[in-house]
Amino acid sequence: MLMRLAIVLAALPVALVLHLESDSVAPLLIVAGLMVITVLMPGSAGAALLIGYAALAMAFDDGHPLRLGVLIMIPALHLIHVTSALAAVVPVKTKIEAAALKAPARRFAIVQAISFLVAAFAAFIPSGPNIGLVELLGLGSLTVVIAVVALRI
């Protein structure tokens, strides 16, 4: 039950941010529905849909790419991913020793630290119509990342 509660706690700021950035109540309802699916079936595609929907909704919304809502959503979406992954392997009524969550918490902190470094880097790189070199570097980096991920799986 603890891991499922963590999914709800992680999804709440996502719902709140999307609701504040939107004029209608639709994003709130969609996130709530996907959250319920994720809590009830953490091993289903509910978590992927929730993360994907929230990411696309934020990306295509107006505003600065590094606004406060985005910075809140980066750890929140990652937390949804981690908690639903753990909830999928832990039965509902299970006692969880705090020591068992120490390693995932440490890894979460490391990932978030690197993610915010990337965010900081993104804040400094130039933007505008003449960024051919930056795009080239980005595509090169992306190719390397995809190659590494492909080799790992």
Binding site: G43, S44, A45, A47, A48, I51, G52, A54, A55, L56, M58, A59, F60, P65, L66, V70, M73, I74, P75, L77, H78, H81, V82, S84, A85, L86, A88, V89, V90, P91, K93, T94, K95, I96, E97, A99, A100, K102, A103, P104, R107, I110, V111, Q112, I114, S115, V118, A119, A122, G138, L139, L142, V145, I146, V148, V149, R152, I153
Partner: protein
């Protein structure tokens, strides 16, 4: 390979005793790469930033290797009913967390935690599963799992408990050599058993001349045998009934016998009586009235008590209705203790016939009384009363023929 075989193989690959990726791993890979690539091509920095943690969580975790195991220290075989403590040893190999189904409920522990204390509770005697630790190991962030694994069943047979009955004042005797009760049959000892009329076959040296001259007919002196008493515990395993008549026709699940039912009472009394007699040095045998192949010959000592208690469990495991009851190869002059609910005439007839053959018969009624009638039928009360009346008559008839009857145990 057919499509069905492929689906079956894919399903088998996603379960069982090997490391396999979970949905979380697929989500992190495809969603992470999709968001980053989409963000790059669509010039959306937010998408890249949301995808980066997912990709990093894949890059920072390795697919675990090795074979994690959960082992349990076996419970001592002699441990009786009640609470028993043992420990489970978790060897997680490359796993990060272990999910173990303990008797008190599932628990998530670090895969390399020290030994887990496990409390096992067994309230009923008989064979049963003490513990089965089903488990699952998860790698970093739950992206790979090993299992779920169905644990090994730890089976243990709890012998029927022995209640120590205090014995009365007894004469001194060399403990461990002879019993306290002598055999009721005639023999060649020096102790006088009876003076009776002469019969063909009697030795002339046994003639009691004083009684012969006084009565005018030849009398002989009969002496006790130089042997201990032989106690035969005869168990009626054909029926196992409780006080509630409505439950008689339905099977009982979860225990070898009905708790406080007739068979449970019979076995407990038999074990306690065997212990009591064996402690006094008497020879004790066990007979199953409907399955003579399970009989145990008479013997003495502590090991014989263990043998009897073990065989009582075997008798109960094979218990069931049989059309005939018989006491075969009864030692001459033995004391027969008949443990039965006495629900049919065959068993009462057997008790009477055994008494007529010269054995001392003690009939112990194991039927839980008073009977509770079936409330769901209007004839329930009448039926229960008829059963009880027939039962009383049966006990009275046995008592009339010289069988010592204990109405309740």
């Amino acid at each position: 390979m057919s499509r069905a075989d492929k689906i079956r193989e894919a399903f088998a690959q996603s379960h069982g005793a090997h490391w396999h990726p979970t949905d979380a791993h697929s989500r992190a890979v495809w969603l992470g790469v999709g968001l980053v690539v989409g963000g790059m091509f669509l010039h959306q920095v937010e998408m890249v930033l949301f995808g980066v943690p997912l990709i990093l969580s894949v890059l920072l975790t390795n697919k675990p290797k090795g074979t994690p195991t959960v082992s349990v220290r076996p419970v001592p075989r002699g441990a009786g009913a009640g609470v028993v403590h043992t420990v489970a040893h978790v060897d997680g190999a490359d796993a990060e967390i272990a999910v173990i189904k303990l008797p008190g409920g599932p628990k998530v522990v670090p895969a390399h935690s020290p030994d887990l204390p496990v409390e096992i509770r067994r309230d009923a005697w008989g064979p049963g599963v003490d513990l089965r630790l089903d488990h699952l190991f998860a790698g970093p962030d739950g992206m790979h799992v090993y299992g779920p694994i169905v644990g090994t069943e730890h089976v243990r047979t709890i012998l029927p408990p022995v209640e120590h009955h205090p014995s009365g004042p007894l004469p001194p005797r060399p403990a461990g050599l002879v019993g306290i009760h002598r055999s009721p049959r005639a023999g060649d000892s020096t102790e006088l058993r009876d003076i009776r009329a002469f019969q063909p076959g009697d030795r002339l040296k046994r003639i009691d001349w004083r009684v012969t001259t006084r009565t005018g007919t030849v009398h002989v002196r009969e002496r006790h045998a130089e042997a201990d008493a032989e106690i035969v515990l005869a168990l009626d395993t054909r029926t196992d009934v409780g006080a509630n008549v409505a439950d008689w026709s339905s099977p009982h699940y979860g225990a070898t016998t009905r708790p406080d039912g007739s068979l449970d009472r019979a076995v407990r009394r038999a074990a306690s009586m065997a212990a009591g007699y064996l402690r006094q040095g008497d020879r004790v045998a066990l007979m199953d009235l409907s399955r003579p192949q399970l009989n145990i010959r008479s013997g003495v000592g502590r090991r014989h008590l263990m043998r009897i208690r073990t065989q009582l469990v075997v008798c109960v495991q094979t218990a069931g209705w049989a059309s005939r009851v018989a006491l075969r190869k009864l030692p001459q002059g033995s004391v027969v203790v008949l443990l039965s609910p006495f629900l049919d005439d065959d068993i009462a007839e057997l008790a009477v016939q055994t008494r007529k053959h010269g054995h001392v018969v003690l009939a112990i009624n194991t039927l839980p009384l008073p009977l509770k009638p079936d409330q769901e039928t209007p004839w329930g009360e009448v039926a229960a009363e008829m059963i009880a009346a027939e039962h009383r008559l049966r006990l009275k008839r046995m008592a009339r023929h010289g069988v010592a009857v204990t109405p309740e145990c």
